[in-house]
């Protein structure tokens, strides 16, 4: 019997369930190939592996930074084109973000985006109508104020809106207000983050924390419990909904698009990683066959999903396209745009410094316009 072809795959994902299942089914169908999975803690280790004398054939990464390196991965579009109908099946929103300079360095995985999940029980208890996609930021704040309940000590037992303090999570609101953190070519933040549309969006957001106090402020005591408990509305990535479904709590929730901002743009962010074939792979053909199987041919990966499928047929075959909650997420993929952290590494690397300043805006009231102007130093 001839020796098996070994495909070495390195990933920085912690949950390997889907990958292990794909390996098992692929090796069953292709007994001549063995998939060896290695884990790395971060992009740095993945890059070291790529530069080592034993580079992996496939690198899977939970971000996009590595896929921006020219020459590190092979373009997968020719492989996609070998599959009849696949170009048209790939979600156009995802492709718009994933392709750079007309090439596709990896097949997107771990695709997620945020919508607003609302707790129907809390809305019913307050006698409030559920929001619909045509709602505005102002209307959302009005609901959030009515859904925020504080006890006699001022400690919230229920918050109107649940969202963290992270520059990335504020970006879709900025996009929807017609602003952007960095230029379309990703080269600079000058003339972008310092513009009025961004400042206006930030003012509204920071007021929600600081003035209306409908969002838990950093360090604020809370008796509202977890996001699925004492929060009227939640900035809900796909994995939040996945958790609701998994724990049988989904009936209590509805989802709606992000509110319309004064700038009236229809836009949203997208998170995704990718799995790509390295330019150093000694077995690019079987590596592609595995990738195709792993990412494009397994609707079972989306039967209990926490992320979104990359093709229309997977959305349909997995049942997500018709699911009460998931269908809204699949539809939202039409609106996604590339975020600043995908386009500009300096911006991406500065996120914690930027978050410290966002926190200061919330807690100390530092001047928004001045702070945003100073962020031109980050990109």
């Amino acid at each position: 019997m001839s020796e098996k072809t070994e495909i070495r795959l390195m990933t920085d994902f912690a949950n390997l369930h889907n990958l292990m299942n794909a390996k098992e089914s692929f090796e069953r169908a292709r007994p001549d190939v063995r998939i060896t999975i290695g884990q790395a803690a971060d992009h740095y280790e993945l890059m070291r592996a790529y530069k080592s004398e034993e580079p992996p054939d496939i690198i899977e990464s939970g971000g996009w930074a590595l896929f921006n390196y020219k020459g590190m991965f092979v373009d997968l579009l020719p492989c996609i084109d070998e599959m009849p109908g696949m170009r048209g099946d790939l979600n156009p929103g995802i492709v718009r973000v994933a392709c750079k300079d007309g090439s596709l360095p990896g097949l997107p995985v771990d695709v997620a985006l945020p919508l607003i999940a609302f707790n129907k029980e809390l809305f019913d208890r307050a006698g409030l109508a559920y929001p619909t996609d045509d709602w505005t930021w102002e209307e959302m704040m009005e609901l959030a104020r009515k859904l925020t309940i504080r006890d006699e000590r001022g400690v919230a037992t229920q918050f109107g809106f649940g969202i963290g303090v992270d520059i990335e999570e504020l970006e879709p609101f900025v996009m929807r207000n017609g602003g952007r953190y960095v230029s379309p070519d990703g080269l600079t933040a000058r003339g972008c983050v310092d513009q009025p549309a961004v400042a206006e969006a930030f003012r509204l957001l920071i007021d929600a924390y600081r003035v209306h106090r409908v969002i838990r402020n950093p360090g604020e005591p809370s008796e509202a419990g977890h996001l699925h408990e004492g929060f009227g509305m939640v900035f809900a990535f796909t994995w939040f909904v996945g958790g609701l479904v998994h724990h049988g709590l989904d009936d209590k929730f509805g989802v709606v698009g992000l509110p319309n901002m004064p700038g009236a743009e229809q836009a949203n962010m997208i998170y995704m990683g990718a799995a790509g074939i390295t330019s150093k792979s000694r077995h690019p053909r079987p590596a592609w066959e595995f990738l195709r199987h792993y990412v494009l041919e397994r609707p079972e990966a989306f039967r209990q999903p926490r992320t979104l499928p990359v093709t229309g047929s997977l959305a349909e075959r997995s049942g997500m396209k018709d699911h009460r909650l998931w269908s809204r997420y699949v539809r939202e993929l039409e609106n996604v745009r590339i975020s600043a952290f995908y386009m500009n590494e300096k911006w991406n690397s500065s996120r914690q410094l930027i978050n410290e300043e966002v926190q200061r805006m919330i807690l100390d009231g530092t001047d928004i316009g001045h702070t945003l102007k100073s962020w031109t130093r980050f990109a």
């Binding site: 912690a14 949950n15 390997l16 369930h17 292990m20 060896t36 999975i37 290695g38 884990q39 803690a41 971060d42 992009h43 740095y44 280790e45 993945l46 890059m47 070291r48 930074a65 590595l66 963290g164 303090v165 992270d166 999570e169 080269l187 600079t188 007021d207 600081r210 003035v211 209306h212 590494e345 300096k346 991406n348 690397s349 500065s350 996120r351 914690q352 410094l353 978050n355 410290e356 926190q359 200061r360 100390d364 009231g365 530092t366 001047d367 001045h370 100073s374 130093r377 980050f378």
Partner: protein, 599 residues
């Protein structure tokens, strides 16, 4: 109602802004005083526009204002060491801009100082300084620094500043106006070559050429000679080298936690050898445990505020710390939870080499974060103990290479994590050895370490990265997180490599905790309880040691079997029970300290 609230909040915001701006500027100016170019770059970024406004109001000419600001900022950088009160940075900068503008208005016309390299010559009269002439000022400052270095009992700071003057001098005054602008953008403002290219409407390749040319000019030896700066004895002026002899540091003396290990080695090199259990205890690392919320990656070991932790520890030990830190954005960076809080910097050799040379020349190794550590490590703290300008290399330690290794200047500058620290004895402790402290002081120190150990054990979020996507569990709760990873089932197998390092590091840390507690100078019931805690830590160490024996610290791709995971989980349950008991004993011991304090 909300409108009013918002208005009030914004008024308060305005006041808060000014206060926090002033505080930040003061901190940056303080760092810039020590030659931190990144901090100075940020100061420029913050105040350039304001400075241009001042200059433009005086001259009415935006182009002239740009030139004035550029000169003023260079002067500010040169003089910042003399700024007594760093909270007065802005008024001080204003004064410099005003002087520059007045000078320009008196003399008229830009371009006076743009000289070809060949026309650059040493000043004729040694004692005459033309304070309106930047060349003359630079010569004067360089000479002063050189003179001070010869006579001062501690010439180190003067040598550093001299090197700085020389660098700026030799580069700026050989350059055309355009080259100067590019150099300033690259060096001070930390713009990337792409951005500079866009700014000057030129290709990125040309920017590199300009920068390269500037650097080449800098390296011309006759600049040094023309300034009358003699080389140190026995050294070549152009290419210096120095190699420190580090004291022996056999494996049996080392600890797996390289942050503490290298500090121990460094102190030994400074003839201040410490007991490693004492260092582990005083630093708190004997009691720290932190696990990633994702899986058993080893990054939890490295998640703490590097700058603050190092400064605090070294201050306790009687040393002042000078830090250079940053991250590169054009290559993947490890340990984002800690490192993303560093400023983004460019891979410029001039930003790091003077610090290394200065410290080595003074006989002190440099603490350095090495991202090319030999396997099974990926990155670790090391000591740079030599440099060679001719070979363009530094010599540094590596946990897996007893004889050390050589790394090029380029690799040091290209290290995606810039973290270099140099140390000097606190002036007030120059004459007095730290260990001559009184027994009362030693006891207070031990009590503080015990309080900190308990606080850490009870704090499940000791370190919070400023981002929602990274989180770590610490203290006793870290055991639960670790056990949960081990019992997550086949869908989420624990990371074997990280698990090996976690077990090796934490088993040893608990051993040091036990030993440290045996050595503390307490008495009576407090000591009895502390000894009981020591015994419990010993047991915890033994249980984690068994995990370490089952999952050794080595690179391995295979997954841990469910049986092995369960075995390790049970061992960790045992370890947790012992450490919880140890924490309980220490809490009771603290009760006795406080009772004594009240009495």
């Amino acid at each position: 109602m909300y409108g009013n609230g918002s208005e009030e909040a914004r008024t308060a915001a305005g006041q808060g802004t000014e206060a926090s701006e002033a505080r930040e500027s003061r901190d940056l100016a303080e760092r810039a005083k020590f030659g931190d170019t990144e901090a100075f770059g940020e100061l420029i970024e913050r105040h350039r526009k304001r400075a241009k406004g001042w200059a433009q109001r005086m001259t009415g000419d935006p182009h002239l204002a740009d030139d004035i600001v550029q000169d003023a900022l260079i002067r500010a950088f040169l003089h910042i060491g003399s700024l007594q009160d760093t909270s007065r940075f802005l008024p001080w900068l204003h004064k410099i801009v005003r002087n520059q503008a007045n000078m320009r208005l008196r003399r008229g016309g830009p371009g006076r100082r743009e000289k070809p390299f060949a026309s650059f010559a040493a000043p004729t009269a040694r004692d005459r300084v033309d304070w309106d002439d930047l060349d003359s000022v630079l010569h004067h400052l360089t000479r002063c620094a050189a003179d001070a270095a010869k006579t001062d009992h501690d010439p180190e700071r003067h040598l550093l500043r001299q090197e700085l003057y020389e660098t700026i001098h030799s580069v700026l005054h050989c350059l055309t106006r355009k080259e100067r602008g590019i150099f300033e953008a690259y060096f001070f403002r930390q713009l990337s070559p792409d951005e500079i290219a866009a700014l000057y409407r030129m290709t990125t390749g040309s920017v590199y050429t300009y920068i390269h040319r500037s650097r080449r000019k800098l390296r011309q030896e006759h600049i040094r000679v023309s300034l009358g700066l003699l080389p140190e004895k026995g050294e070549n002026a152009m290419a210096r080298r120095k190699l420190l002899e580090l004291p022996e540091w056999p494996a049996r003396d080392a600890v797996n936690l390289t942050f503490v290990d290298r500090i121990g080695h460094l102190l030994a090199a400074l003839e201040d050898r410490r007991d490693l259990s004492e260092l582990m205890g005083l630093s708190g690392f004997a009691f720290r445990m932190q696990i990633s919320d994702k899986t058993t990656f080893a990054d939890g070991i490295y998640m703490f505020d590097w700058r603050e932790t190092l400064r605090t520890l070294m201050r306790e030990l009687g040393y002042e710390t000078t830090l250079l830190c940053g991250q590169l954005s054009d290559s993947p960076v490890p340990l984002l939870g800690a490192v993303e809080r560093f400023p983004v910097v460019l891979p410029i050799e001039e930003a790091v080499l003077p610090t290394i040379r200065q410290s080595i020349d003074a006989g002190r190794p440099v603490l350095y974060f090495d991202t090319s550590a030999a396997r099974p490590y990926v990155h670790e703290w090391s000591l740079i103990y030599g440099y060679d300008d001719e070979e363009r290399t530094v010599r540094l330690t590596d946990a897996m290479r007893p004889d050390g290794k050589t790394v090029s200047y380029e690799e040091v500058a290209d290290n995606p994590v810039r973290f270099l620290a140099t140390f000097r004895r606190q002036p007030e402790r120059e004459e007095t050895a730290v260990r001559s402290e009184t027994s009362a002081q030693t006891r207070l120190r031990a009590e503080a370490a015990i309080r900190s150990a308990v606080a850490h054990a009870r704090n499940e979020r000791a370190y919070r990265p400023m981002t929602v996507y990274l989180s770590y569990t610490s203290g006793l709760a870290a055991y639960d997180r670790w056990i949960r990873h081990l019992r997550a089932g086949p869908a989420s197998p624990p990371n074997r490599y990280g698990m090996g390092q976690l077990a090796a590091v934490y088993a040893e840390a608990k051993k040091h905790a036990a030993r440290y507690l045996r050595l503390v100078p307490l008495e009576g019931e407090a000591m009895r309880l502390t000894l009981l805690a020591s015994e419990a830590y010993e047991q915890a160490a033994e249980a984690i040691g068994a995990v370490s024996a089952a999952v050794p610290f080595a690179r391995a791709a295979e997954m841990l079997s469910p049986e092995l995971c369960e075995k390790c989980a049970k061992l960790l349950e045992t370890a947790k029970a012992f450490e919880a008991a140890a924490t309980g004993y220490l809490e009771k011991a603290i009760g006795y300290f406080e009772k004594e304090l009240r009495a």
